[in-house]
């Protein structure tokens, strides 16, 4: 367990610049909260809040899809895997690292959201529920991207992830809402996007739990694939 934590924290640390850049958007929300009349501009604030949520979702795919690639291209992966670290542990570290990176962001967004939207009579408990949905979506999206990146380069991995995550949305639209739950990233994202002051979101904890279970499934699958990958080979 210790190596997994070390690798996760190290990953989040290595991603500190993208995370800090991303946090600038949260800062924008805070800034708007400071300089505008929160009650009158509450729709605009909610819009920025949702936009921030979409960014972190996109970044989770970016984090997940490029993690192994970057480590292999820089050859730093060799130093880590030359220690008593199994392939599964390494991959688990990355999954946890992506989740930590997104969690830091979600926490910051949750705090800022509680303050701005909360002051405009959006239930604070619901802000945090939306953040849990968002984090569950990020963890699942990042893990799917990580799985593809074990055998594809980041560009294709991101493309494949977009297809896999978008498919349930399309199927849900055409065949019935149950299909949306197959890989519920879209479903969870939509909960955040569709929330409003009148109806602050409707997803159930069940969907969050489902996302968690699927994250574990994709994580195990990627660990399985990664165990057979030649990591010392140059990356395309």
């Amino acid at each position: 367990m210790k190596p997994v934590l070390l690798i996760a924290i190290n990953f989040a640390r290595e991603q500190r610049w993208p995370i800090l850049t991303l946090l600038l958007w949260v800062l924008l929300l805070a800034f708007l909260g400071l300089v505008t009349d929160i009650h009158r501009e509450r729709e605009d604030l909610l819009f920025v809040f949702k936009q921030d949520a979409v960014y972190v979702l996109a970044f989770s795919v970016f984090f997940g899809g490029s993690a192994i690639y970057n480590e292999r291209r820089s050859r730093r992966i060799l130093g880590v895997l030359s220690k008593a670290v199994g392939r599964q542990q390494y991959l688990s570290g990355l999954v946890l690292g992506v989740t930590i990176a997104c969690a830091v962001y979600c926490f910051a967004l949750g705090m800022t959201g509680s303050w701005t939207l909360g002051s405009a009579s959006f239930p604070i408990s619901h802000v945090w529920f939306l953040m849990v949905c968002l984090l569950a979506a990020c963890a699942l999206a990042g893990t799917v991207a990580l799985m593809f990146s074990t055998f594809l380069n980041p560009f294709f991995a991101a493309g494949a992830t977009a297809i896999v995550l978008g498919f349930p949305a399309l199927a849900g639209h055409l065949l019935g809402p149950r299909w949306g739950l197959v890989i519920p990233v879209w479903e969870l994202g939509a909960t955040v996007i569709n929330s409003s002051f009148d109806s602050p979101g409707s997803a159930s904890w069940l969907v969050v739990g489902l996302a968690g279970a699927e994250t574990v499934a994709f994580w195990l699958l990627s660990a399985r694939i990664f165990a057979y990958v030649d990591i010392a080979v140059a990356v395309e």
């Binding site: 820089s74 730093r76 130093g79 030649d230």
Partner: protein, 307 residues
Amino acid sequence: MSFVLEFENVTKEYRSFASKRRLRALDSFSLAVEAGEIFGFLGPNGAGKSTAIHLAMGFMQPTSGNGRLLGESFGDPGARRRVGFLAESVALYHRRAERLVRFYGALNGMGGTQLDKRAREVLEIVGLQDHANRNAGKFSRGMLQRVGLAQAMVNDPELLILDEPTSALDPLARVMVRELLIGARNAGKTIFLSSHLLSEVELICDRVAMLHRGKLARLGRTTDLLQAGGRTEIIVRAIAPSHFEGAAARDGIVSFSVPTHGQRAALEKVWNLGGEVVSVNPVRRSLEEIFLEVTAEPLSPLSKGVQ
């Protein structure tokens, strides 16, 4: 006999993703490294040394064959806990050197004050104690190689696998590494060392293997290989050089070489002629000569077919 590192008939082919071309980097390669020796792993660029090392570390899967590292199959994380590894191009995170060494130690399950102490100790061994708090991202290549060595030694490994560990080091640091390796061997550790510095290998390695185009071309004790010419050089005084074929004379000193098995007869002949023997020595070759000889050997038909 206990082997700490074994390759059994290992073949590794690299396939490129786009084309169907295969490149056989290792070809039915077998080797066994004994406990407590410094083993030199030599061969020209592209011979397959790093490939073999990466297979042993579990970074890649062999195409066929297998091997064992400290008694476990290649890739076993438990075995790697007892191994120290330095890659040929050192790539480390951009952190302060001491933190970095602690990070790698912690990955190996170390911790607490023991790790702190050990991290400082190994940085001192590689001569970086004054730079322990500097960011390794700003280190020179030689300094990086030193940190790399420090992190390889942090867990006090039974087996050190070093891929060209002194390629970027200054002469002083090379001497330091040489003494370090000899010290480690005297403490019962095993060292598997890939290197292009033949004079250094000649000095410290108990055994060497030479790899050529993925195949084992030479293997043996360093002293045996260096004497393997099977000839003895005899230097004498007070006889005419014409008595011995190929003899050279200078200032009354005559030197010639004979096959080692004919050494006794040659000496008797010298005495019978009233000559005086100055010295008798086995003709020593250098690893460089052997290296050149190996690389001049033609390709075997097998490896030709694949390349």
